[in-house]
Amino acid sequence: MTSPNASAGDGGSTDPPALRLVAIDKSYGALRAVHDAELEIRCGSLHAVVGENGAGKSTLLKVGAGIVRPDAGQIWSFGVREVAYDARRAQALGIAMVQQHFALFEELTALENIIIGHEPVRAWRAVGGIDVAMATERVLAVLQELGVQLPLHAKVATLGVGDKQRLEIARALYRDARIIILDEPTAVLTPLEATALYATLRRLVGDGRGVVVVTHKLDEVETHADVVTVMRRGTTLATRPVRHGEEVARLGGELVGGEPLPELRPRPPLQAHEAGGVRLRISELTCGRGLRGVSLEVYAGEIVGIAGVLGNGQSELIRILGGLLEADGGELVTGTLEVVHEDRQTTGLVLDASVEENLVHGQLARFSRWGLVDDARVHAEAMARIERFDVRPRTPETPARALSGGNQQKVVIARALARDPAVLVIAHPTRGVDLVAARSIHEQIFAAAARGTAVLVIGADLTELRLLCGRILVMLRGRIVATLPPSADDATLGAAMLGRDAGASN
């Protein structure tokens, strides 16, 4: 696909921007999420906002969408200063945001979700009859403009992530949004879906709408964006048009603090793994419609990846391995097994408990005698784990909630790896984790494998899977459908993930 890095936003247009945020400050308690941030959003431009996790991207754009009220700062729209800017006003101005966690009614149909709150009503208004024909017509027009198709009469609960996202965009458009803000839209998509999403967004830009994409995938910025704003530690560093070349490396340097991006450390060579024997053997595991007979083996010291579009049985597999779900059939042979679950905030951590409690969560029996917890030993162990896994801040009494995503993940991994388990199953090791923390997490995974732990990584980020794994299994509709080397390219992997021949997908 050609990159249409247009000239919009590079100073060529002098019209006042559709939305202008000036000197925005926003704190949550002691945490300063956004400080002195500036942003100009224009129609007819695809604007990427990049930054590490916790850089304040989401908060700043929620301010832009009227969802979060800033502590200080000004909001201008088309050259007019907005007072009392809120979600209602933003909607009136045509500014819509698609958040990471979709705001959809799972039990309603796609059509109902799009028109909800703005239903065309028949003449006998008082009775509230919805004019379904008119609604369908208008929604179809919106979908046509978007260039996508949706099963309008299917319940949202039955839709995949990609469809749900398109549904959110369609809803924004149905409400005449002129500016659409998307928060990490590609975090849940396959490479092919992501490409399709950007094609859709490009159409919207071509129609004169403005699109803002929050992301930390730099290659997406280079390929698709017209303008990029870099955020670091709550403030906006620079906004400039995107040009080809050097962009990615330079952006990466800006993200982590002006230093050049540290080299990705290559995977250390692993011993001939057969020597250590099989540590995890799964045979013909089945579970409802999620798993239809999964078999795999992981050897000691080996790192095996499972790639696949989310929703193809990965969640079931993880939850069965973690003991949260009963399998219907099949066999599971393993030694000590630790699971790092998909959602660290709900399944991995007790957010209101301290870092110390989370570090030994579920392991108190080892620090207890006669049922009494030995706090001194717990504290010493927690400090040791904090040091070893570089959890910041180094204060064990901090509530887990106050940690950044990366450090939260380190806490979960520290707990899982503390006792050198025979098997580590880890889902999305660095999802929502900043680059520096991601590097440290990768090193912990390599170190665990070097100590003989069999590692199974379930991931969505192909780059990461390639970096970590010696073998990549592809999961589709509850089965393992392919085993590929880490050298396989996106097209091959993507084709396998969608069940196509590599040759068939362009």
């Binding site: 704190s27 949550y28 308690g29 969408a65 009227g66 969802i67 979060v68 009220r69 502590d71 809120d86 979600a87 209602r88 909607q91 945001m97 958040q99 705001a103 709150g117 973690g322 003991g323 949260l324 699971v339 679950h341 709900t346 399944t347 991995g348 951590l349 007790v350 957010l351 209101d352 408990a353 409690e357 969560h361 579920g362 392991q363 108190l364 029996a365 207890s368 049922g371 009494l372 917890v373 706090d375 009494e397 707990r415």
Partner: protein, 351 residues
Amino acid sequence: MTARSRQGALAVASALAVAWIVFALMVWLFGESPLVVGRLLFEGTWGTGYGAGQVLFKATPLLCTGVAVDLALRAGLFNIGGEGQLAVASLAVALVGARVGGLPSWAAVPLLLLVGAVAGGAWAAPPALLRARFGAHEVISTIMMNRVADALIGAAFGAGLAVAGSVRTEQVAESARIGRLDLVAHAFAGSAASFAFLVAVALAVAARWFMRHTRVGREVALVGQNAEACAAVHIPVRSRLAFALVASGAAAGLASAGTVLGYKGYYEIGLGAGAGFGGIAVALLGRSSAVGLVLAALFFGTLQQGGLAINAHVPREAMDVLQGVMILAVSLGDAGVRRALAGRSAVGVTA
């Protein structure tokens, strides 16, 4: 942690202020002077040794049931079955107490405390099992067990368990009684305060200690905060939930120490009624700290006793209104104070 407790204290303080304003308004509407009635209220409670003793007496069962509600709340459960648990425990204590005449006091009283705890816990066990096994909501099942307790006790008394022609049990053995405080502290002379108050305080301290220092207690609290994360690390969530509800019932059952052993010496229908629900207010105000629970129990004890002291001027039901206002103000104050401290951040809702 300190920030949170400061926040809690602030919420309670502001709730108190609101409650007193409402109180003054109410008194004024009755055509009385808030100052005069306020003075009566104070003199009738903390103003005299007798009044203070009566406050301790009223606070005793409230403190036990307050600890009970708090224990369940820590696990994320709402035990509103304190009424039934206390009634059943009181009956059991009275029945066993009448038959321990041969035992010396040092054996009889602990034994009866145990009986009360076991009976209260047993009455909480069916809801606990239903919750653990089938996920049945404990609010429904515990309140239902209150009615079952009422009906069963009524039937048992009708079937001959009661002293003929009455709705009360026999007197417990003299050695099973818990002594009055005025035996050692003459200031409390004439009041019904008994050493059961110290039992209740010990219960509050023990519950706090248990939750903080034992593995099971710590895990109960973690389950209350995020059961899914506990299941993920193989903490037996169901049994921790069941344990918390049974322990809660046991604490409620211990309130019988104040009503049966420390006061009447027998159980009659209606004895201790209201303490189960009163415990909810105590737990909400006490905010999971032993000191807080004791202070909250004393506060509501003061209101109960104070209601009697001002009854000639203002109907004592005014105190019930005050209690309700306190609960409302505390729960609202919580949210309000949190928002105020967070820097007045009004968060809008997506349209």
